[in-house]
């Protein structure tokens, strides 16, 4: 029975199926909102799904310089690593599937693994545009990682300072439990800068518009993806969508956790609502408002402004606010 339950967790909720559905939903909404803000009608809600299915039906072309096995494996491994993150997140009042080791550092590294898979895929393709794309992806990764790490430390140190719970300092479950007992973290003064920093980290981590230096279509022909076609490209697209959901969910867990009503379906509905709002703030709004940054600007922005916000949060925690 527990095997079936685990299978359900891995494949349906909060695993594969839920991730994909949420990814498609958020991505579709994002496209509609951006279109509306640009005075366009926009595609139907399920357009990302149609795109995915159509891509799957297309021929897969493998460049001659490419290393075949790694070229095809990279999208799959990245996607799997991403979906596995959902099993570490205690979303919607549920315990995480892997509650024992649901840990912010594990999630941080699994997210890195997703980027690495994209980079390896690009490197395997052997194309110059992909080379530029991967270099940019790498710099983007270095850029958002510092503020992300600082936010994680700030969040962990709040729960630590209040509860003094030593062995579980990076545990997400502990953070959610803490929020259930003491109110969501975003309501704390000291956490507001960290929350803003996290909101700014999300678009870069996902690779959304003003920070999509690695995929800049107009400059470097989609960079990392330039040689991909067919099913592997479809999986990369799906990875992008699911990443939007995973990052929104991570934000919910870190700053809006512990909000439960006791009714499972209602909890899930609230959680989905939060994700939708977060997508609007972190994805649609910057997309419609800003033009793409240059890569060195991205780096500078994240290591000064965003990291600064997170440091302010850490200092406020230190002062006991």
């Amino acid at each position: 029975m527990s095997v079936l339950m685990n299978l359900f967790h891995v494949l349906v909720f909060p695993g594969l199926l839920f991730c994909v559905v949420m990814g498609v939903l958020l991505s579709g909404l994002d496209r509609i909102w951006v279109a509306r803000m640009q005075r366009r009608v926009g595609p139907p809600l399920l357009q990302p799904l149609y795109d995915f299915l159509k891509c799957c039906g297309k021929e897969t072309i493998i460049p001659r310089h490419a290393r075949k096995a790694a070229f095809l494996a990279a999208p799959v491994v990245g996607f799997v690593a991403l979906v596995s993150i959902s099993l570490f997140l205690p979303v919607a009042g549920q315990e995480a599937v892997f509650s024992g080791s649901s840990d912010l550092v594990v999630i941080l590294y699994l997210l890195t693994l997703v980027s690495v898979c994209m980079i390896v895929g690009a490197a395997c393709s052997g194309a110059p545009f992909a080379g530029v794309g991967l270099s940019r992806e790498m710099v983007a990764m270095i850029s958002y990682e510092l503020p992300f790490v600082l936010v994680i430390l700030a969040v962990s140190s709040v729960t630590f300072t209040v509860t003094g719970n030593v062995p579980q300092s990076f545990s997400l479950q502990a953070i959610v439990d803490f929020q259930a007992a003491n109110g969501a973290l975003i309501t704390r003064l000291s956490m507001i800068p960290a929350a803003i920093a996290m909101l700014l980290v999300i678009p870069c981590e996902v690779g959304n518009h003003p920070f999509d230096v690695a995929e800049a279509e107009t400059e470097i022909c989609e960079g990392t993806l330039s040689e991909y076609s067919g099913a592997p490209l479809a999986i990369f697209r799906l990875t992008h969508m699911v990443k939007m959901y995973i990052m929104a969910a991570l934000f919910c867990v870190m700053f809006l956790g512990g909000i439960t009503t006791g009714i499972v379906l209602l909890d899930i509905a609230i959680f989905v609502l939060f994700c939708i709002v977060l997508t609007f703030i972190t994805s649609s709004l910057p997309h419609a408002v800003c033009a793409r940054f240059k890569v060195e600007q991205v780096f500078k922005f994240y290591w000064t402004v965003v990291a600064g916000l997170a440091v302010i949060s850490l200092i406020l925690v230190w002062l006991g606010l």
Binding site: I62, R64, A70, V77, F98
Partner: protein, 645 residues
């Protein structure tokens, strides 16, 4: 008397005897040479493995008095070998690395001249390192350090026809001597005050005289001596010079084994001899040195164009991690440090061997000239990727498990002491890890992926004999990463326990109650807190998830099977060579086109250009400068120790 008691001395002897026998019989026949080497390194490994049961699991300590010169009336006059779990932990690291390096050498060195010298020196190096970690005597540690340094210098310069080989060896010799001298001065000071050099007796006597200024100065000298052997900041430039030119099997030894001797020395010094790990000054000193080395070396690696030089800087960066957490003085800190020390030997050994494989097959280590080798050397590529993922700390490899513990240790130290310094160290550790990853992406892009240059069109995969040690190390990377619980049970917990039970170490050599009589009380530890990062169940679930997704993809991809793998139409092989068809550089040769994007780290380096140009000037390559930095560092630590302790 139990035969196991003789294993420590026998394992050291067998390596030294192997060296001399090799010099006698190995001149003519390569079979005799390889046979003697193989027997010696295997015997040493087997003897160390046999000691796991009594020492690691039953918690025994083996003391071996040479010529049975046991202590008289509480004074140790004889030479001793004393093996507790900490010594054995490092001895296992050493013997495994020596084994892998030796097996690899058989093929790797087969085209070189005067191989008999190579194997003689190699076995002497191995024996001296093993002797160092097993020794129960401070002066023998110095003797072993000297043998180690000189054999390592000779081996660095072994391929004298390499550009920079003699130069690298010379720098290593000069600056290494500075470290050895510092060590000798420290030992002389200790002897002048306490009239003994036995580690166990010193461990009992030194804490009693903790405020003696001469002993404090000795602490500074000994610390800097071991720091030189670990190539910590500011000694990192000579590691880079030495690694880049040494044969790959020796780079493995220098990076994986010699630096660990420095780590072992510092752990013994701080936790056993002086037992001053809980003093804030010592914590700042050790952690500070570690954190600075960790960060500076990883940024230096960004500028490198030589494969092994880049690995050399990473190796100091990883040793920086180890020293950082060793300095924390917490149980989690020391256990994560030991874990990372072990993992570093494994994955860095693997990476050096893959670098050696590339060099062996292509004759080059230049990151700017190599490329696209994954098509020609697919197995080496996989091995490299395993090593790169491990050093970057990607799950599920071993680097992740130990780095996770390192973050926990630094963060908890910062939280429980309320000291922002340790939080800063935690941030530096996390960022260093990302930079490490970025740096290895550059290597994989410029060596194994990307475009294959014309001159390497006919490169072949390395022979099986060279792949075997690489596979052994790669398998260890995975095993120690996937089963951290087993590693903890069999290796980490006993070793950490030994670190915290100095009194058992003392009593076993000097007789019962000697430690208590001198006021040393230590109880060891019961367990390592918060070390359950990866549960096998978790991992198996993840694996299941992977298989599911792969199956789905296979199903999705099946309609395409018939026409799958259509190869791009145009005949790229002919065109790729002509720069005018390169869309990206718009008709320029890549070397002449000043496109910022052609440097993989441009966005990062551009913002840090002042730092990088300062660092570039600082690493001047002049041995006088490096000696000066070393002398200044020793003077600084000496002053700080005497004034602040």
């Amino acid at each position: 008397m139990n035969i196991l008691n003789h294993f420590p001395i026998m394992s050291v002897m067998v390596l030294f005897i192997g060296a001399f026998v090799n010099a006698l019989v190995g001149r003519k026949s390569s079979a005799a040479r390889n046979g003697v080497t193989f027997v010696a390194i295997t015997a040493a490994l087997v003897m160390m493995l046999a000691l796991i049961k009594p020492i690691m699991l039953d918690g025994e300590v083996i003391t071996y008095w040479m010529g049975n010169w046991a202590p008289v009336e509480g004074w140790a006059f004889g030479i001793s070998l004393e093996v507790d779990a900490l010594s054995l932990f490092f001895a296992l690291i050493v013997t495994v690395a020596v084994f892998a390096s030796g097996i690899y050498s058989f093929t790797y060195m087969s085209h070189d001249d005067s191989q008999v010298n190579y194997y003689t020196l190699f076995l002497m190096l191995s024996g001296s390192v093993l002797g160092l970690v097993l020794s129960g005597d401070l002066f023998n540690i110095f003797v072993m350090v000297e043998i180690m340094t000189f054999t390592a210098v000779a081996l660095t310069a072994f391929r004298t026809n390499y550009e920079g080989a003699l130069e690298g060896a010379f720098k290593y010799l000069v600056v290494g001597s500075l470290g050895s001298t510092s060590l000798l001065v420290g030992i002389a000071m200790v002897y002048s005050q306490l009239h003994t050099l036995n580690l166990a007796q010193l461990s009992a006597l030194i804490p009693q005289n903790a405020s003696n200024p001469v002993l404090l100065a000795a602490f500074a000298f000994l610390f800097m001596g071991f720091a030189t052997k670990a190539f910590l900041f500011p000694f990192q430039p000579l590691a880079a010079d030495a690694h880049a030119v040494a044969p790959a099997s020796i780079s493995l030894m220098i990076s994986g084994v010699l630096t660990k001797c420095g780590v072992y020395g510092i752990v013994r010094l701080v936790y056993c001899l002086y037992q001053n790990w809980d003093l804030p000054f010592v914590q700042y000193l050790v952690t500070g040195f570690g954190a600075v080395s960790m960060f500076i070396c990883v940024t230096m690696a960004f500028n490198q164009h030589n494969f092994k030089r880049l690995l050399a800087f990473h190796s100091i960066s990883q040793v920086g991690y180890v020293i950082t957490v060793v300095g924390l003085g917490s149980i989690l800190g020391i256990s994560s440090g030991l874990y990372h020390a072990m993992n570093h030997t494994i994955f860095k050994g693997l990476l050096f061997l893959t670098a050696g494989a590339v060099q062996h097959q292509t004759g080059s280590l230049d990151l700017d000239r190599l490329g696209g080798l994954s098509k020609r050397m697919p197995r080496t590529t996989i091995l490299f990727l395993i090593g790169a993922a491990s050093i970057s700390g990607l799950p599920p490899f071993n680097g992740f498990a130990s780095k996770w513990m390192i973050y926990q240790a630094t963060f908890q130290q910062g939280m429980s002491t309320g000291n922002p310094f340790f939080i800063l160290v935690c941030v530096v550790a996390l960022i260093t890890s990302v930079l490490t990853l970025a740096s290895f992406i550059k290597v994989s892009q410029s060596v194994f992926f990307g475009q294959l240059p014309e001159e390497y069109k006919d490169v072949k995969e390395v022979p099986v004999a060279m792949r075997v040690p690489m596979w052994i190390l790669a398998a260890l990377c995975v095993v120690t990463g996937v089963f951290p619980n087993l590693v903890e049970k069999f290796l980490l917990l006993p070793a950490t326990n030994a670190v915290y039970s100095a009194s058992a170490y003392i009593d076993h050599a000097m007789g019962a109650d000697y430690a208590a009589a001198h006021g040393v009380f230590s109880n060891g530890i019961l367990g390592i807190p918060a070390s359950n990062c990866w549960q096998p169940a978790t991992w198996l679930m993840l694996l299941f998830c992977v298989t599911c997704a792969v199956a789905i993809v296979a199903l999705l991809g099946s309609p395409n099977d018939s026409k799958k793998l259509a190869i791009s139409a145009c005949d790229e092989d002919a065109e790729a060579l002509d720069a005018k068809y390169e869309s990206f550089f718009s008709g320029e040769e890549a070397v002449y086109s000043q496109v910022g994007g052609s440097d993989l780290f441009w966005g990062f380096k551009h913002n840090w250009r002042k730092y990088f140009s300062f660092m570039h000037d600082w690493h001047s390559g002049i041995v006088n400068d490096y000696t000066l930095y070393g002398a200044v560092a020793i003077a600084f630590v000496l002053l700080a120790c005497v004034i602040l302790l």
